[in-house]
């Protein structure tokens, strides 16, 4: 729920006032349409745009503690707030509201920044500690909620989304080309960076502290995903499934806590079906489910979705996406993702959250996180098979397993066996590289960098993003088993920076819908990391222990479905006679030259090839979406961003030590 924004004046700069803060809150209107609040004290300014989910009447923010010495603005939910609140009240703390956010303040009174270890939730918050003159910014362990910051003219500015920072005329708008290089390798800028030069994000599992008088804020990591070394994990096979089931049920139960109805997304796959089934048992009211369907049968999964909905006896709603819907939505999607994307998958999810809104709901449960924690992706199997093959590189039998892994990818199925082997043989014996599992994917993706302009290439001469990546990894990661390493990388470089953002928070909050992720409950995640690798991926059967844990909840055909990645059409949406006009405009030589990121001739070649091919290949499709979305991004944020479009928000309530706290007028 919500958006936050604010500032801390460092080294005597003029503190941020309402003239700017209220405009930042306008930029966050879509995240918090219902109410807004502001607080000022000395060098600090805190702002909040509200989407009310818990304590509808009393939960206005910013919130403060008993004596007004601590103030906070929170985006997100603290799901264990009931238990924490009980504990804190028992120790004498006095609460002003029934909201979950307030526990942050009282826990901070006792623990300082270490309060984060007690929270079970998805959150990004800012807390101003008046006696210590300290600002604390924090983000949840897996980065479900966003939090960006920049230091400009002696002021630290922070906000849930970059657009709120850009309404400050002093914040320069420029491109970080290293981040562009990263996006066109890893699908996203690496944690901490953004494509906006000078604007950073608090990484997941970190907090940031800043005080007036400091030149730069200090970042501290408070949580790392650690996988138990293989061999140290226990042997009790039955125990894992049972314990996982308990944790999932509790994680879901906590995430049903709301003063508004909660719905669920159904993709037709194992994960969302399991969550919806668990929720059904505990939902106080009739559960509503929501799904994306595609006019193109290749992408559509509606039969499985309906099957599950019928079994659950829920009100089921679908939004059918035609290619023109996807093409039409893409500019708005990029406005919300604030980054280029390499596939169109966020667009149907953007349309889906609009559907949820139309049905009057604000909260949905969804299944993200399971594939990373329980080894669902083909990528993991591919790593295991390649390593198996690497032990006998001349084997003709071992590489035969590779074809099975991608049965949903027609172009690979049509490839001759010698060529299939040739592709997967690249880097085959580099098994000592900690990122072995991801090297082929990154190498493949990086091919689209051929489209960079001469200026971009020159600026990136000699740059190797691998160093920055390696610095982010736990020092002992190289000693972990192959599967755990692969899963860690997938969480750190894909789930957090890309999936939870562009396919998660941004496209849901675009329509003021809050997604909740039971699989990302930190207890589930931490437990999953202790499960022996062979129970996560048993041979080539993925998510083994999870399937066991939810067996009784699902019909056979959904339970037994192999992992099928969620994909959306690209070529049909962006080329052909029905293609949106902006495609030709933004990919025209003039537009490409003007943005300066890509080579105009190369882009023209790419577009012509996609227009004329009967089938657009994987990499060409990625290139098309990548370049087009980068052009959209550049146009919307660098060239044409107009701070004047964000007037001061009118419904902002000022709170203070004397002003009423928590109660909306």
């Amino acid at each position: 729920m919500c958006g936050i924004a604010g500032a801390l004046s460092l080294r005597g700069a003029e503190p941020l006032g309402p003239r700017v803060l209220r405009r930042m809150l306008t930029a966050l209107q879509h995240r918090g349409p219902e109410a807004a609040g502001e607080y000022y004290a000395g060098p600090a300014a805190l702002g909040h745009a509200r989407l009310s989910i818990i304590d509808l009447a009393g939960g206005l923010q910013p919130v403060c503690n008993e004596d007004g010495t601590l103030w906070a603005v929170v985006n997100g939910e603290i799901f264990n707030y009931v238990e924490l609140g009980r504990e804190l009240r028992a120790r004498g703390h006095r609460f002003r509201t029934e909201s979950d956010s307030e526990v942050v303040l009282h826990l901070y009174e006792e623990l300082g920044p270490e309060l984060l270890e007690r929270l079970n939730g998805q959150y990004a918050f800012a807390l101003w500690d008046e006696p210590r003159r300290r600002l604390l910014l924090a983000r949840d362990r897996l980065g479900v909620r966003p939090l960006f910051y920049t230091v400009v003219d002696g002021t630290l500015l922070f906000a849930s989304e970059v657009k709120a920072l850009l309404v400050n005329p002093r914040v320069p708008r420029r491109v970080d080309l290293c981040a562009l290089d990263q996006i066109f390798t890893y699908w996203s800028a690496l944690p901490g960076r953004s494509l906006f030069g000078g604007i950073q994000e608090v990484p997941a599992g970190h907090h940031l502290v800043a005080e007036p008088g400091w030149d730069t804020p200090r970042l501290t990591r408070y949580w790392t995903l650690r996988f138990t070394p293989d061999g140290q994990a226990g042997r009790d096979d039955e125990g894992y499934a049972g314990r996982l089931r308990e944790l999932l049920v509790d994680a879901t139960r906590l995430r049903l806590r709301a003063d508004v109805p909660v719905g669920a997304y159904l993709s037709g796959g194992l994960d969302s079906s399991a969550i919806a089934a668990i929720a059904r048992r505990y939902a106080p009211n009739r559960l509503q489910t929501f799904s994306v369907a595609f006019a193109d049968r290749v992408f559509d999964e509606r039969l499985f979705q309906r099957r599950m909905a019928q079994r659950l006896e829920v009100d089921h709603h679908i939004i059918e996406c035609r290619p023109q819907d996807i093409g039409g939505a893409l500019p708005d999607v990029i406005w919300h993702t604030e980054t280029p994307i390499l596939r169109t998958a966020p667009a149907p999810l953007f349309l889906l959250s609009a559907l949820v809104r139309r049905h009057g709901l604000k909260v949905v449960l969804t299944g993200e996180g399971s594939d990373e924690m329980f080894a669902g992706y083909s990528l993991f199997k591919e790593a295991v098979v390649r390593r198996f093959w690497a032990r006998q590189p001349d084997s003709r039998l071992r590489p035969l397993l590779l074809r099975r892994l991608y049965d949903w990818l027609p172009e690979l199925q049509a490839t001759s066996q010698p060529y299939l082997e040739a592709f997967f043989r690249q880097g085959l014996t580099e098994t000592a590289d900690p990122a072995y599992s991801h090297l082929l994917r990154w190498r493949n993706t990086a091919r689209i960098k051929r489209l960079f302009s001469a200026e971009t290439r020159a600026a990136l001469e000699g740059y190797d993003s691998r160093h920055e990546l390696d610095a982010l990894l736990p020092p002992d990661l190289p000693s972990w088993d192959l599967l755990s390493r692969a899963q860690y990388l997938e969480v750190a470089t894909f789930l957090t920076p890309y999936l939870l953002s562009s396919q998660g928070d941004r496209v849901a909050m675009a329509h003021a819908v809050e997604g909740r992720f039971p699989f990302l409950d930190h207890r589930v995640v931490e437990f999953a990391a202790t499960i022996p690798p062979r129970r996560r991926l048993r041979g080539l059967h993925e998510k083994d222990v999870l399937r066991q844990a939810v067996r009784d909840l699902l019909p056979d055909d959904i339970w037994g479905r192999p992992k099928r990645p969620y994909r959306a059409p690209i070529a049909a949406a962006l080329t052909g006679p029905g293609a949106p006009e902006y495609v030709g405009q933004l990919l025209s030589p003039d537009a490409v030259r003007s943005a300066g990121l890509f080579n105009p001739d190369a882009v023209s070649h790419l577009l012509a090839k996609c227009e004329s091919s009967a089938r657009v290949g994987e990499v060409d499709g990625m290139a098309l979406v990548g370049v087009l979305s980068a052009q959209l991004w550049h146009s919307q944020f660098i060239e044409q961003f107009d701070a004047g479009l964000f007037p001061e928000r009118r419904d902002v309530v000022r709170v203070g030590a004397d002003a009423p706290v928590g109660v909306a007028p």
Binding site: Y419, L451, A602, G617
Partner: protein, 123 residues
């Protein structure tokens, strides 16, 4: 079997009194036999335009796999291009890196195929 009749389609007004090699060349791709250099140039132009988006170049002996020029879709497109442009029939078992992984290899492959046709028709 009278060779003139076996070949003799009206391939764009070809003179059936032309030497046999030229007429086989006309059968194969409907043009005069290409030189090795010409084959390689045509392949190079296609690869640069289609996989490198028109910029840069590829040497005759450069491994297309190692350079990341081709992926699975790329191989299929290349096979189709070679079949249609050079009028050769490519079987599944032909689609191996030995035959397609460099411009030089592809050119040799094409010439071998043409040679096979030439020999078959001459026998």
């Amino acid at each position: 079997m009278a060779t003139e009749e076996a070949i003799g389609p009206d391939s764009g007004g070809e003179d059936i009194t032309r030497p046999i090699d030229d007429q086989i060349g006309a059968e194969v791709g409907g043009r005069d036999p290409m030189s090795s250099v010409a084959i390689r140039e045509q392949l190079r132009d296609y690869i640069v335009a289609n996989y490198l988006f028109g910029s840069g170049t590829v040497g005759d002996d450069v491994s297309l796999l190692d350079e990341g020029v081709l992926d699975s879709m790329g191989v299929l497109e290349l096979v189709l291009f070679v079949e249609e442009t050079f009028d050769v029939r490519i079987a599944e078992y032909d689609v191996v890196p030995e035959n397609f992984d460099s411009i030089g290899a592809i050119a040799s492959f094409i010439e071998v195929k043409w040679n096979d046709v030439r020999q078959a028709l001459a026998s």
